[in-house]
């Protein structure tokens, strides 16, 4: 049994799950305690030890099904096993053995797609799972100015072509074997075909993790009935000035509230040194007990703002507020992007927010003619700024998620989420439009801790209040 579990673990790892040796040992020990005969218990033990968050559980169940059901691994031997229609199957180890022979005798490139497929059919799915995972994670190299999504497609096509080749080769190989009766050969072929179909089905499934931690935000409070509901993109010059006034007023109010809150936090442990120092005033009697100030932890903020079109009109107000409220945060770093992130923290620190916004719009480092590409932005952000993220950082991404059908690269976003405390996505579009056209919002939402529409004053103020208090 140990060997089967180890093989399953290596298959899970190939699919990108992080399973430590200690967890494998725990799992084996627990299986010995609970007994591996009851499948429900067996499944529970494996899940409890290998998939330690809700988001991993779907991927885990999928692999479990593949490994222990579809591949008929470690299940009863020939004669007892039946397929869905109730027909007895050919001895599975026999087919495994023959397929392995085929790998050995055929001239396949080691580590190649055909070999991975044949190994999958022979009951060792690791290499194939890894190949599929690579396709999902693939980072297309950008060659010159031409960008495309073809990388993933080529990867898939390659596997499908390899599958076709294998489909043709298997009958030829099995036919050339001696000592196999015709009727058995027929069944073996059918069985091999089914396994190949399963491999292709696995290729085409899209992993879609459940995201129970996603904060649900319903309607926001209507602070300002008229001004608060106009989308930022539609504000007239006059209204913009009024919104700015409202924001300034509100920022001052927030600062007061936050200061009070920090003042109330002075109730830490006794500061022995200072208490003794003070006690000398009273002949060594500690009349005054001094406590250490322990200011509430201030969060760090990293923002990533899309500066194209409608999004920017919202982002500028948000940046404006965040920098006005700097006292409430330990650090605010901001980046803007169209197809690659550019850090603009310096501009906001050196200038007043509105001037900084103007400077950004005239910044020649930003290519305003480029087409928005979220996937590439995330990838570059990861390469250059990953060290900015830690478990105290809230990453705020502001954008409509419209990525011009470029590769969305959500695994990169997943990595960013794992690195920071919270990942919040603010989308100026209302929920109705998420996922329509080239919007990748529904896909990205799976990796966010909070994804909410934020296109007018009411929504923005509600969000910032949640963030500060």
């Amino acid at each position: 049994m140990d060997a089967v579990i180890l093989e399953f673990v290596s298959c899970c790892r190939a699919n990108g799950m992080r399973i430590s040796t200690a967890e494998t040992l725990d799992c084996l020990a627990q299986l010995n305690m609970a007994g591996p005969l009851n499948e429900q218990i067996f499944y529970t033990v494996l899940k409890a030890n290998f998939a330690k968050s809700r988001r991993e559980q779907d991927g885990f169940s999928r692999l479990y099904r593949l490994f222990f059901h579809d591949m008929k691994k470690g299940l009863p031997k020939a004669g007892e096993a039946t397929d869905d229609s109730g027909e007895p199957l050919i001895d599975a180890p026999d087919l495994d053995h023959r397929l392995r022979q085929m790998v050995e005798q055929g001239e396949y490139a080691p580590g190649g797609t055909e070999q991975a497929l044949l190994a999958f059919m022979a009951g060792e799915p690791r290499a194939f799972v890894e190949a599929v995972r690579e396709i999902h994670d693939q980072e297309t190299r950008v060659a010159g100015a031409v960008k495309s999504n073809l990388g993933q497609l080529t990867g898939r096509l390659e596997i499908m072509l390899a599958a076709n080749r294998v489909r043709q080769q298997v009958p030829r190989f099995l036919g050339s074997m001696e000592g196999v009766p015709d009727e058995d050969q027929e069944a073996l072929l059918q069985q091999a075909g089914q396994r190949l179909d399963r491999a292709l089905a696995f290729l085409n499934e899209e992993p879609a993790p459940d995201n129970p931690g996603l904060v649900r935000t319903g309607e926001t409070e209507q602070r300002f009935s008229h001004l608060g509901n106009i989308p930022f993109a539609n504000l007239t010059r006059d209204e913009t000035a009024r919104v700015q006034d409202v924001i300034d007023q509100w920022v001052r109010k927030m600062e007061d509230v936050a200061t009070l809150r920090f003042a109330a936090a002075r109730k830490g442990a006794v500061d022995v040194k200072r208490t003794i120092q003070r006690s000398t005033r009273y002949l060594g009697v500690p009349v005054e007990i001094v406590r250490k100030d322990r200011p509430l932890r201030k969060g760090k903020i990293v923002t990533l703002c899309d500066v194209s079109g409608s999004v920017w009109s919202t982002a500028r107000f948000m940046l404006n507020i965040l920098y006005s409220l700097q006292a409430c945060f330990a650090r605010v770093k901001s980046h803007v992007f169209i197809d690659c992130p550019l850090e603009v923290t310096g501009l906001f620190l050196a200038h007043e927010a509105n001037t900084a916004v103007k400077k950004i719009l005239n910044d020649d480092r930003i290519n305003y003619n480029a087409r928005t590409d979220y996937g590439l932005t995330f990838q570059k952000f990861r390469d250059d700024h990953l060290s900015d993220l830690d478990k105290k950082t809230t990453l705020i991404i502001m954008g409509d998620g419209r990525s011009n059908y470029f590769n969305p690269r959500e695994p990169v976003l997943e990595l960013l989420r794992e690195r920071c405390r919270r990942l919040v996505w603010l989308n100026p579009e209302s929920r109705r439009f998420w996922g329509t056209g080239d919007s990748e919002m529904l896909r990205y939402r799976r990796y966010c801790n909070d994804a909410r529409p934020c296109g007018n004053l009411n929504q923005l103020l509600a969000f910032i209040q949640d963030l500060v208090l």
Binding site: E23, A34, A48, A51, R54, R216, G218
Partner: protein, 303 residues
């Protein structure tokens, strides 16, 4: 008093009023056998804390609870020196010093003589135990519940690692304190943030979701024995329907119980959309959610 099998866990938990799924029972049994902490995740109000409480009742162990929050540190979770008491004692014992130090001793010798007594001030007498230290130094085994661990800071999470893997903590002045008996540890998390791999590695993980309709019916019937069969079916079906909606906060088990109870108090035997409308504030706790539910009263109740 320990659990002897998975069915034993299930039976005894049910006897104490907690209805566990087979999965929960399996995990609890394994955690006991492997002496591992259990990390319980799930939405608010599905009975994560209740599970730990029921286990402590079943095993007849004391439950020690540590509620985590932002800014929780070792002095609140583990121990603190009773500084005021120490200072008071120093003042009271001031005169005693002349008795300890012989009058003709040199300064260096006097310091040595006092140093022999310094342990008196860093001893169990002056230590204030907080939940974690109380749990591991207890002579009787206890159930330790570390509630909402996701609300604590990353520093505190790192500090928990030593405790959870070796059941020991280090106090600089006293040395390492090892657990006399291993506590049965539960950590609960609402998924506010992801826990670190290091912490997860030390625990057995379980995700508790909202109960399915049948389990919920059993829970309601168990807690409110007087409820009629017809109302029970309707309540369970309506709540299941409401949970499907896109709400800010979905009703949890205790809210279902509150609602069923208020319906019984109002003498409802057959649920109508008007009844749901009248009693909605026991189920929904956000103004925005009222609107969503009110717009579908009829279809929710009729389903």
């Amino acid at each position: 008093m320990v659990f002897s099998s998975v069915s034993d866990v299930q039976g005894r938990l049910e006897a104490k009023g907690y209805i566990p799924s087979r999965e929960i029972a399996t995990i609890v049994f394994l955690a006991q056998e492997a002496e591992k902490p259990v990390l319980v995740e799930g939405p608010a109000g599905v009975g994560k804390t209740e599970l730990a409480k029921s286990i402590s009742l079943c095993l007849d162990r004391e439950m020690i609870r540590l509620q985590c929050y932002e800014g929780l540190d070792e002095s609140k979770a583990l121990y603190e020196w009773a500084y005021a008491k120490q200072l008071l004692y120093t003042q009271m014992l001031k005169e005693k010093i002349s008795g300890i130090v012989s009058p003709e001793a040199s300064l260096a010798k006097a310091v040595d003589e006092i140093a022999q007594h310094e342990d008196a001030f860093f001893s169990d007498r002056f230590i204030q135990t907080r939940p974690l230290l109380a749990a591991i130094s207890s002579p009787e085994p206890v159930v330790l519940l570390i509630d909402e661990v996701d609300k604590s800071d990353p520093e505190f999470e790192a500090f928990l690692l030593e405790l959870l893997s070796d059941f020991q903590v280090t106090i600089p002045e006293l040395g390492t304190v090892r657990a006399n008996t291993r506590p049965f540890v539960f950590l609960t998390s609402n998924n506010y943030r992801d826990m670190s791999d290091a912490l997860k590695r030390r625990c057995i993980h379980i995700y508790i979701d909202y109960p399915d309709m049948e389990t919920e019916k059993r829970i309601i019937a168990r807690k409110l024995p007087g409820i009629s069969e017809r109302l029970l079916d309707q309540v369970a079906a309506t709540v299941a329907g409401i949970r499907e909606l896109d709400l800010k906060k979905r009703p949890c088990i205790s809210e279902t119980l509150d609602w069923a109870k208020s319906l019984m108090i109002l003498g409802t035997d057959h649920l109508t959309p008007e009844d749901l409308d009248r009693t909605l504030n026991t189920l929904c706790k956000h103004r925005a959610d009222y609107g969503v539910v009110r717009s579908r009263l009829r279809e929710l109740v009729m389903a």
